[in-house]
């Protein structure tokens, strides 16, 4: 029964998760940070699709936020932040963790 459920519902859904970046199946955190990995990874210490140890922030990949004139940019939930630096990301993360 379990494997039938997997074949009919979960497997196609998991495939869509691979196809569509914004289809989320495993977001357990309140905050989702969308960024290109390199800088954000260092600050958060997690890889794509992973949630920080305290369960507050999940890191998701994103390519273009339509803010290329003020790159690099990140997106925290629905808010875009331009011209970020590692320090700025650090401050953003601290701010949401306190909220």
């Amino acid at each position: 029964m379990g494997s039938l459920l997997f074949t009919i519902i979960l497997e196609p859904a998991l495939q869509e998760r691979i196809f569509y970046r914004f289809v989320a199946l495993n977001h357990v955190s309140r905050w989702v940070l969308k960024a290109l990995k390199t800088t954000a990874k260092k600050v958060l210490g997690v890889d794509y699709h992973e949630t920080s140890k305290d369960g507050v922030i999940t890191l998701e990949p994103v390519y273009c936020l339509g803010n290329c004139a003020c790159s690099p940019s990140v997106m925290m939930n629905d808010k875009v932040i331009g011209r970020v630096t590692p320090e700025k990301i650090d401050n953003i993360i601290k701010a949401v963790k306190q909220s």
């Binding site: 869509e16 289809v23 390519y63 273009c64 339509g66 803010n67 290329c68 331009g82």
Partner: protein, 515 residues
């Protein structure tokens, strides 16, 4: 006495703190008992000066920027609300070099008006195109668009009039207008600016398209990364409905048209029109075989006009001012204007709308002010991640669909990204393949497999393994992908790769210069 000031609500301005500036200015004004009327306008497109605050004066709007929350007290001390000179003062906005040398047709209202004030929109020639279109037979609307020479601004540059004619000629009770707002190309943001800063012009363009081809329903397929645009569009659609511009019997014309926004789910390939239609139907966005053309069998098998945001937003001014007015701009078969987006390693980035024919050099140095780092500009990529890399030797090529095509490059959606001489072009070429491998829908083999093999071949060349053999293999692979892929995703990925190989062989560890 109340003073009128403008603080942008565009999401680039917001990403640089425009909302914080807005709150700080209103709080300071309250404290000093100064009566300010604050209008949240769109962005003028001078992004290195955002947040750009404007003050209305007798001689026109005066600009201050870039304003941060630390500048507010200083600005009030120098009575900026009177338009007085002082810190951050930039002079009359319209006289700024960046704006003065543009030809803004599609972007005529962007940054000037309050995006959601429909009266402000009408005061600035809004709905003039629609009112003229209502008086015309559908065939005459299509003729006007055909005569204007307007071509698809999404990137493929297909003549809009011919596409509309096909939809008009295909008999069907149900037809659709689909706006492609899945602006995924890196270095582009003009669609977002139109949707956030002048949403009614897109709505007007879609209504006219509906009248022209006989469609009564439209969808805006909006990329998931644009939540602000979604909010603005939904509000604008509701306002337009209340005012009788959408719904049944629009302005007592007998025409019906309604539309809705669908938010995408984050797949680059869904910007390809057939994959977009699959996605809009609720499926995985796999590319469809053509024929049948979407204009004949599109959304749910019905005739569908799929047009880019800028294409549709340009239709109102063509209907208002006439086809020949628009066609007088530009050169050769590239008629009219193109909203150009400058990004990357440049001092000044943002939006420029110019007639076709301007050279890259003018754009990079005259508008862009040279590289941000001060190093020489090594290359630019025009037209998104699938566009060719162009070296300094090609910077004098005029921006024109055919001239770019002659040098195996594309104008695409008009995004220009500059790279300085510290950039490793072989790494960029490898990244093009990596991007293709991640974003490929997987339906055709050249794109699905070729992208991964391409990365491996570049690694081998860089690693010094059988360089001559592998270089030949890379070129063969490029040719196979260009000629054998189902859509432009695999069909254009070799453009950046092969151009990087041709112009920057040293970065690949190849000594001899080849062209």
């Amino acid at each position: 006495m109340t003073y009128k000031i403008y603080i942008p609500i565009d999401s680039t301005a917001l990403s640089l703190g425009a909302n914080d500036v807005f709150y700080a200015i209103t709080a300071e004004a309250k404290k000093r008992k100064i009566d300010l009327t604050v209008i949240r306008n769109g962005s003028r497109g001078l992004f290195w000066l955002e947040p750009l605050v404007e003050v209305e004066t007798k001689s026109g709007r005066v600009a201050f920027g870039p304003v941060t929350t630390n500048d507010i007290e200083k600005l009030f001390d120098q009575e900026f609300y009177l338009g007085k000179e002082g810190a951050l003062f930039l002079g009359l906005t319209d006289d700024l070099h960046w704006l003065k040398n543009q030809e803004r047709l599609t972007f005529a209202r962007v940054g000037i008006t309050d995006p959601l004030d429909i009266n402000d929109y009408e005061k600035h020639a809004g709905f003039n195109g629609l009112r003229k279109a209502i008086e015309l037979e559908p065939q005459l609307i299509v003729n006007e668009v055909t005569d204007s020479g307007l071509r698809g601004r999404g990137g493929a540059a297909f003549p809009t009039g011919i596409k509309w004619q096909t939809v008009l000629n295909t008999p069907s009770k149900t037809k659709y207008i689909v706006c492609n707002a899945d602006e995924g190309d890196s270095g582009t943001f003009s669609d977002r600016m139109i949707m956030e800063n002048d949403p009614f012009v897109l709505i007007e363009g879609m209504i006219i398209a509906g009248m022209a081809v006989g469609a009564e329903y439209g969808y805006i397929y909006l990329r998931s990364e644009y939540p602000d645009a979604q909010e603005v569009l939904n509000k604008a659609i509701n306002i337009a409905k209340e005012k009788g511009f959408l719904g049944n019997n629009i302005l007592s014309s007998g025409y019906n048209f309604d539309l809705e926004v669908t938010r995408a789910a984050g797949a680059y390939i869904c910007g390809e029109e057939t994959s977009l239609l699959e996605s809009l139907e609720g499926k995985r966005g796999m590319v469809r075989y053509k024929p049948p053309l979407p204009a004949i069998e599109g959304l749910y098998g019905k005739p569908t006009a799929v047009n880019n945001v800028i294409t549709l937003a340009t239709v109102p001014i063509i209907m208002d001012k006439g086809a020949s007015f628009y066609a007088d701009f530009g050169m050769g078969r590239s008629k009219g204007t193109l909203p150009i987006q400058l990004a990357g390693n440049l001092k000044q980035t943002g939006l420029i709308e110019k007639a076709f024919g301007i050279s890259l050099r003018e754009l990079l140095y005259d508008f862009g002010g040279g590289s941000f780092t001060g190093n020489p500009i090594k290359a630019v990529q025009v037209g998104g991640p699938l566009g060719a890399f162009l070296p300094d030797g090609q910077f004098d090529t005029p921006l024109d669909y055919e001239k770019f095509s002659e040098i195996n490059a594309v104008v695409g959606h008009g995004g220009i990204v500059a790279f300085d001489d510290t950039t490793d072009m072989a790494k960029m070429a490898r990244y093009s393949f990596e991007f293709c491998a991640i974003e490929s829908c997987g339906k055709c083999t050249p794109c699905r497999i070729g992208s991964t093999r391409g990365m491996e071949v570049i690694d081998k060349i860089k690693g010094g393994i059988d360089q001559d053999k592998n270089e030949k293999l890379l070129r063969d692979l490029g040719e196979t992908m260009v000629n054998g892929s189902l859509c432009a995703m695999g069909g254009m990925t070799p453009f950046p790769v092969i151009s990087a190989l041709n112009f920057f062989p040293k970065d690949f560890g190849l000594e001899k210069k080849k062209v």
